[in-house]
């Protein structure tokens, strides 16, 4: 009767490299196109507000007159619906994930050319 069918695989695993990675010393190469983090090219943005309408979690706020675009990073689910909807293609998805945060502040972007400019935060 077949017994110990797993032996070959188990022995192979015993003498092979581990399947796990020594994170954070060794980071995983994320494939291009991974939806990690939303970024905006604020200079191209026309503040039309379409991204705010399309966001399923209401994580984006666009103020047309004050020329401010802000995002609640913890509310963003990285679905890229706004990226597909933006008429000026100024939104894009980076591969890296958002770093951990201690407070739930909104992250605001304003074009640098318009005085008085609030400094653009990273």
């Amino acid at each position: 009767m077949p017994l110990f069918n797993m032996t070959a695989t188990a022995l192979r695993n015993l003498f092979a490299r581990p399947a796990t990675r020594l994170y954070p010393a060794e980071k995983r190469e994320l494939p291009a196109g991974t939806r990690g983090r939303l970024t905006i090219d604020i200079e191209t943005c026309i503040f039309c507000g379409i991204c705010q309408k399309k966001c399923p979690t209401d994580a984006l706020r666009v103020e047309r007159d004050a020329k401010r675009w802000s995002i609640d990073r913890l509310g963003c689910i990285a679905c890229a619906n706004c990226v597909d909807a933006c008429p000026k293609d100024c939104l894009s998805m980076e591969t890296g994930h958002s770093p951990a945060m201690l407070t739930r502040d909104k992250e605001t972007h304003t074009p640098a050319a318009k005085p008085p400019a609030a400094p653009t935060q990273p």
């Binding site: 797993m6 494939p31 196109g33 990285a78």
Partner: protein, 359 residues
């Protein structure tokens, strides 16, 4: 007359992927009756449809469950498209089939790992999940995320896969063939594994039909029923027959799922060979009005989405009947007169996805 004790099983149990509660009435070591109770992860997602725009609800639908997420999103989009009479481009339909089958492969590999864990074979559990990592890498490269794909939209799909990547996907899946065969041999031929699964959790063909079983639970009891026979998406163009086993026990269901992984790889190969060029989405204009029962085949069985729309941007009613909900009565039947030690194996054999069940 033996005394009866009630032993609570769940919601916290090492073998359960998601919380479900069973009150097991036992006499000695034999379970006489099992009484289920759910509601631990009820999120009221059906009510959320009243607040979300019908095009945005697809993101909520795919988060009903993490393992079968793409097919939830696809069924929702399929339902809305049928109500509105939207003709989805053929290329998008083929891409949906490819992602559905990838979803099925990763779900069955996940289940194989959990089943091995339920009878204590941790090494086999890790081996299954190690193979599953390769499938998740393919999914991440094509959709952007490992588990929640976010690639289905009403009217089509959000991303395209070019031909070179399709060839690479087929090559990578075929590269897993040796590992999958070794895994299959352990699950289906090894004597110790068979000792835990053969003759355990018997559900006869009559009971399976009477009690409304779906998916591999039904096909493992000899009934050839698979919703992919309805020819939604591009399944009408692909050669497909439901896989049936007659064992009616946990071993038969395990065999159905192992064979379905091979079948899914074959379907992906067929789809990649026949995929036509073209658009991947059409623009959605207007609002839906009408009703439809969308039925598709998830890895766990038949899922039914009842959508009812009244011409506004919010749907009037969305009712999701997931396969695990339909498999709860058969589970209660299978647990009658089983040994207490077999309860984890039997609970896992229906592939419980409780977050689907409770939405």
């Amino acid at each position: 007359m033996a005394t009866r004790t009630v032993i609570p099983f769940g919601p916290q149990h090492p073998v359960l992927p998601e919380p479900v509660h069973l009150d097991l009435v036992v006499e000695g070591e034999k379970v006489v009756q099992a009484i289920p109770s759910i509601g631990f992860v009820h999120r009221g997602l059906e009510k959320l449809v009243e607040k979300k725009d019908f095009t945005e609800y697809v993101f909520v639908a795919e988060r009903i469950c993490g393992i079968c997420s793409f097919i939830h999103g696809m069924t929702y989009c399929h339902g809305v498209e049928q109500i509105m009479g939207i003709e989805v481009p053929r290329r998008a339909q083929y891409l949906r089939v490819i992602w559905s089958e990838l979803s099925r492969i990763h779900s069955h590999l996940l289940w194989l790992g959990l089943a091995a864990d339920s009878f204590g074979f941790e090494n086999l559990f890790m081996a299954s999940w190690r193979i599953r990592e390769h499938v998740l890498n393919i999914i991440e490269a094509t959709t952007g995320n490992r588990v929640i794909f976010s690639s289905c939209r009403v009217g089509g799909v959000a991303r395209d896969i070019d031909d070179a990547t399709l060839k690479d996907i087929v090559a990578r899946l075929e590269g897993l063939a040796t590992d999958l065969r070794n895994l299959g041999e352990v699950f289906l031929d090894d004597t110790t594994v068979k000792h835990r699964t053969v003759g355990v959790g018997v559900l006869t063909k009559e009971h399976a039909r009477e009690l409304g079983a779906v998916g591999p639970t039904l096909r493992g009891s000899g009934v050839a029923s698979d919703m992919r026979q309805l020819k939604y998406a591009a399944y009408g163009d692909l050669a497909f027959e439901p896989l049936v086993e007659d064992g009616c026990d946990c071993h038969a269901r395990c065999k159905v799922r192992v064979r379905e992984i091979g079948q899914s790889i074959d379907l992906i190969r067929q789809a990649a060979a026949r995929i036509p060029a073209g658009e991947i989405a059409v623009k959605v204009k207007g609002t839906p009005s009408g009703e439809f029962f969308a039925r598709t085949e998830q890895p766990r069985g038949e899922v039914v989405y009842y959508l009812r729309a009244n011409g506004t941007r919010n749907l009037d009613r969305l009712r999701v009947r997931t396969p695990t909900f339909a498999n709860l009565p058969p589970l209660v039947k299978m647990l009658e007169n089983c040994d207490l030690a077999d309860v984890p194996v039997i609970v896992l054999t229906i592939d419980p996805c409780i977050s689907c069940t409770e939405r």
